[in-house]
């Protein structure tokens, strides 16, 4: 029962976040006149399709123009463009919630659709693949190295890793990516400069998978490097605190081996707070993905975001902000569930 309640509270909190973002975004684009621009371009789009359709039946140009103009006026009324923006807040919210995000004015999917939602859905899996792999790797490396370090405070390795984590925190993901391309592509020629598959992609499932792996290696290393420092450092701090608790001393006094003390007594207790750090770092990972994808030309939502900014595509930017928040909220929830499973205190 408590489990369900705990999860429900978290779900509600996250939904609140989602709605707040949505609300803020709608108000901002309304007040700045951006929503007018987006809606007008939707109207133009529909009007031009309409003109093509009816031009087959109406041949007289004057009658055609008149019909198109009437249709345009109807659309403007239907979208509420004749009213002030704040009367449209409800409509806009509804439209975004059902993922009716309008059309992009500069980009298209492979199949030729310029609907924002199609564009995003085409890119979403690529981003999820990249970020999930990197996050899992960061968590595992952080836990393993952090626990080792915490039981050897002040050792040479510990000090070296303190500096490493500081540098890792100070390293901008995107710049590391650029340097990696310079070294591993330009000078050494052992990794591709970017993209997700070779052009043309190799034949066969397995060869394709290897090709994907080859292209994903650098971006994933870059994402892990950017976050692993703080992950190690947090684990170390948490573990140092736990290692000074009485139950650990007792375990050692009982003559248990250091391995068992380290992994069964300390790491188990340390896992939930470390996961918390991971949860808090998730927003950062999403930001990291935008930059890493841009640098490596990885065809995910982050690269799409960059393309939307550079071409000033308002509808696409709006859609991406919403979907990014949505993805973030969902990922948060998955991690929170994991947390509840790991931490017995929440379950009882």
């Amino acid at each position: 029962m408590r489990l369900a309640r705990a999860l429900a509270v978290r779900a509600i909190n996250l939904l609140l976040v989602l709605f707040l973002v949505l609300f803020l975004v709608v108000i901002i684009i309304g007040a700045t006149g951006t929503s007018d621009k987006i809606l007008m371009s939707m109207v133009r789009e529909e009007v031009s399709t309409y003109r093509q359709v009816i031009s087959r039946t109406i041949t007289d140009p004057e009658a055609l123009n008149k019909a198109v103009e009437t249709y345009r006026q109807e659309l403007i009324k239907a979208y509420g463009l004749d009213r002030p923006w704040y009367t449209r807040i409800g409509d806009m919210l509804m439209r975004i919630i059902v993922l009716d995000l309008g059309t992009s004015k500069s980009l298209q999917t492979f199949s030729g659709s310029n609907k924002v939602i199609d564009l995003i859905m085409e890119r979403l899996p690529n981003t999820v693949l990249l970020v999930t792999t990197a996050t899992v790797l960061t968590f595992l490396i952080g836990l393993f190295v952090g626990v080792k370090l915490a039981t050897a405070i002040g050792s040479k390795l510990d000090r070296a890793l303190t500096y490493f984590s500081a540098i890792s925190y100070a390293l901008p993901t995107w710049w590391t990516g650029i340097i990696f391309i310079l070294v591993f592509y330009f000078y050494l020629r052992i990794f591709p400069p970017g993209g997700m598959y070779s052009v043309p992609p190799p034949e066969g499932e397995f060869a394709r998978f290897l090709d994907l792996l080859w292209h994903a290696t650098l971006p994933i290393i870059v994402l892990v490097l950017a976050t692993v420092g703080s992950s190690i450092y947090v684990t170390r701090t948490v573990v140092i605190n736990i290692a000074q608790e009485d139950f650990v001393t007792v375990a050692r006094a009982k003559g248990l081996s250091e391995r068992i003390v380290r992994w069964r007594y300390i790491a188990r207790v340390a896992a939930p707070p470390i996961l918390t750090q991971l949860i808090l770092g998730l927003a950062g990972s999403i930001g990291g993905a935008i930059l890493t994808e841009t640098v490596f030309g990885w065809p995910g939502m982050g690269l799409l975001f960059y393309q939307a900014i550079t071409s000033g595509d308002e509808a696409l930017i709006l859609g991406l902000v919403y979907v990014f928040t949505l993805v973030y909220v969902v990922a948060r929830f998955i991690l929170e569930v994991l947390y509840v499973i790991l931490d017995p205190r929440v379950r009882i």
Binding site: V21, A166, I167, I179, P193, Q244, G287, T294, L320, F324
Partner: protein
Amino acid sequence: MISSRKEAIQIFLSSTVSKLGIILLVVLLVFSIYALTAFPPDYGKLIWNNPKAWENYPKSAPPAWINMFAPFKHFEHKILTSSEPVVFKAPDGTTKMIYYFDLDYTADEFPTFLSMSVKGVKYWKSPPVIAVKLMQPNGKVIDIMSFAVSPPRSEEKPPYIRFSKEPLTLKIDSDTSVWRSISAFLKENYGLNLSPSKIGENPERFLFGSHEEGNFSTPMKGKYRFEVVATLYDDKDSIDKISLVLGGSVYGLLGTDVIGRDIAIGVLLGFPTSLFIGIVTSVIVTLIGGLLGIVGGYVGGKTDEVIQRISDVVYNLPLLPLTIFLIFLMGSSIWNIVLILIIFGWPGLTILTRSIALQLRESQFIEAAKAFGSSSRRIIFKHMLPQVTPFIVAQMIFYVPTFILLEAALSFLGLGDPSLPTWGQMLELGFRNGAIYMGLWWWIIPPGIMIVLTAFTFVLIALGMEPVVNPRLRRG
């Protein structure tokens, strides 16, 4: 908890990490102050982002010091400015001003171009005549060219002023009269018959080439001297400045970018902007976040509930997408960037301070203060604030690199303040122009290292603060 401020400072300074951090911070501040004093505030708008100002510079040239590591010596780009001219009066009543430009030629290649700029000419009667000569290391002299400043226009009244705003740039090497002079020089000295148009293919070869092998294919190394003689026909006539530019393939300390901008200047100008955004944002965020946290934690009840809810939600927003969105809509001035970073930055601190304030509220000395009848305000500022300060300060320092990196990331995505040169923007331009795929490392590495170094400095100081605020970490 710490017993005294003195002890806290002692603990802080006892670690190598903090010492290194402080040293780096001093270095960063020195560079920032130098950048602010040596360059005018509108340098970014007027010169840095103005391609015309960089016309005389080589494009995408690596730093000059690569010559130390390569057997082949590149020609280093040179902008020669003369010392004070030697002035003497000729018997015919004219005044001669002679400018000397010395050049020590050590490179294995020829300059890519040769040009002269003349700034601020004022004359009263006849237009001044400017003649250029080159003395080679072997003692031979080439009369390169001579030209007269444009004559007075009809109805123009003396003094006649020329090139006062934009200097006149003479491309010496593409002037046919120069080719003819060189042709005549070669005939006279070496008995060579080369047509001027043949010389025009690469005049530098004949100006700086060695005749020894007969074909001028390698430079004649040694000391050259340009002599520019300006003949003035009135005592009041004057010339502000004459300079010569020899186009090279390497430049300065850090080379140039695709527009020809000196990367060393860009890197230097990045210091104040980066530190400003990092420190100012962090301080304001700390003030807002810390105060809300203490107030919420101490007062409790409805106030606390409201503060907690809002900070919780804002803390859980995906920062970068929203920041990008807002700056895209509001425009990317430095003030907008700081404002938006503040809007999203404060809640982390509120959550932390609140939890400390909650613990403190229950402690005995606060209860004692309450029993004495102290006001809430007095308790918050006199009793709680000093206890919370070390945590807040540690967090504040830890936020500086966060904001520095965020600004750099925004700049890299093309959302930086266009009137200020920043490291992120330099990298953005480099990235967009394919600097990595062409191996222009001098354009990509220095700005990035500066970002890392600046962020690293504050991370080190924050790490040094940690044992001060968390005694359990003090043992190691």
